[in-house]
Amino acid sequence: MKVDKMPLPPAQTELRATEVGLTSAAEQHRAYVQADLLIIPLIVMLFMGIFSFHFALLVGDWDYWVDWRDRRWWPLVTPLALTVLPGVFGYLLWEKLRLPLGASLTILCLTLAAWISRYLNFHLFADFPMNFVWPSTYIGLGLIIDCLLLLTRSFFWTGLFGGFAFGLLVYPLNWPLLAPFQVPVELHGTMLTVADLMGYEYIRTAIPEYVRIIEESTLRTFGEAVTPLTAVFAGFLNIMNYWFWLWIGYLGSKAIWIRKIV
């Protein structure tokens, strides 16, 4: 790195060159930009990778197949699993950089990775039609969390309102994408949805019909209000869930565990 922009006495030149690498504001700015150019793509790839693995392990088939997204389990399991990285990295990015990007950026990265994976793995390699394996959209949920954090500047209020909305809105956010697949059809005297029909026709040897968890639960008191009931329940659970993962982010930022190891 050049050091000859700021004139120094000849006797001090060699010493300063080893002590300070950056000697002008312009050079410092350029170095910071170069650091961003290195760090930001790495962070994006890191989020894409870890969120894909995490989501595949905890949500998996619920997001892979259109005939898995039922009214009870999908809107409950998804926000609980989806909140982990927004919570942890949301805390780190806010606390260390004052950037309200943790939720939206991690979910944006997950979405990008999911579309790449569905297109390459599920569609081109395994030959499933894309309308059977499209990923759900969750970016709106990340935006709610980040915007609320920015506006309230409080993890408490973000958790209370944002965490609740995060659980509550999974189903309505995806309904414009999902609704056409829940139109009824008949097959051999059995009523199905279009999604069920696709699940039956597009053969999955290792995913028999009974593996899906469809509407399995109690709490039938509210009759047809299955979706709102699940959404509200998911919302309440997710408040605690979001705070918990923020706390994990806090522990991570303290790096106590590293000190214990080292």
Binding site: Y32, A35, W68, R71, E95, K96, L97, R98, L99, L101, S104, L108, L112, D127, F128, P129, M130, N131, W134, T137, I139, G140, L143, I144, D146, C147, L150, L151, R153, P172, W175, P176, L177, L178, A179, P180, F181, Q182, V183, P184, V185, L187, H188, T190, M191, L192, V194, A195, D196, Y200, E201, Y202, I203, T205, P208, E209, Y210, V211, I214, E215
Partner: protein, 415 residues
Amino acid sequence: MRTLKTLLVVWLGLTALLLSHVPAAFAHGERAQMPQLRMRAVHWIDVQVSTAKLGVNDIVKISGKFMPSEYWPHHVNSIEDTAYLNIGVPGPSFVRLDSRVNGVPMIRSTSFRRGELYDFEIVLKARRPGRYHVHTVINVEGTGPIIGPGTWVEVTGDPAAFENTATTLLGQTIDLENYGFGNVKWWSALWFAMGLAWFVYWLTKCPIAIPRFKRASELGPDADQMITPMDRRMGGIFLALTLTLIAGGYVYAQEKWPITTPLQTGKIDVPPLEQPTSPVSVRLIEARYRIPGRSFRLELEVSNKGDSPVNVGEFAAGNLRFINARILNVQPRDEHDLVAPDALRVEGAPVAPGETRRVVLYADDAMWETERMTTMIASPDAVVAGLLFFFDGRGRRYMVEFGGPMIPDFGMVKT
């Protein structure tokens, strides 16, 4: 640097070598399944495939019978709980138009009774050109797929010509290959653009990583000073836009698709076929598998209450078929059809009407080894089962299941 380049070239070379020798995976793991499960789960009988060569959009039917074994292993979940008739093909190279057991559509899961006989038929429509090993499969909850015999089927033609339509209960005819995807793409792109716009807004403040870290560290509890009024305005705008889009999207979908139903599931009941009473009964006296000779020896007590002498024409176990060439002429349909046309030797038969006598069978073939059935000695209960097909003088066939303990013969003790 030179060492690094050399290492890179070697690594690339090895990778290319490995990739060029990767064999195509055609099987469905049937050999990997433990032999006891294959022998004692489901017996597949008279499985037929209507054609071995067809074009895209053409129909192939797979039909036959199956019988859940009376000797179903106790250490795995039973087929009498939850099961599903499936098909084993590499991905959706076909679409399944119909599947029935005893005439009942098998869209949903069901259960099958042990020892009972079931007729099945699966109708497939060819979707992608290729050569596929098509297997019947019964998935059993908690146990896994029980794979039936496989047949090679070749599909030719243009994949772009494939058609798969359905008519909804609202009267709309839809193309299942792309129905609803335009809508999915539009909404997904919109949300992605929203998320990206939010990210780009913060990127406009670049450099952000180091300067913001330093500034936040300096300010400590007052780091909120880093948030500008413009940031807060943008936060408000994005929040309002997000909530409006979610609400608007929901209302739009309710308007456009007012009639929807929840995903459908459930179990369906299938009554078994009525079976005529067999005049032949079998008791297993001893089963020994001689590992060095790949020879299975069965000592049986056979009773014939019929009116004609009976002889054993076939012994079937774990999808392997050993044929007594003196009684039957069965040839493999293709190179992977697990039929040994002359591998069953029978001593002590035929059994005359009204007679009960000891019959010894020898099923000797390399298939025991090549299909990895020899690992039956590693079973947790060392019990085997199979089907015997008896034929009388008038060509009538009687099917009897037998089962019992098996003793391995390691060839170490001279007998």
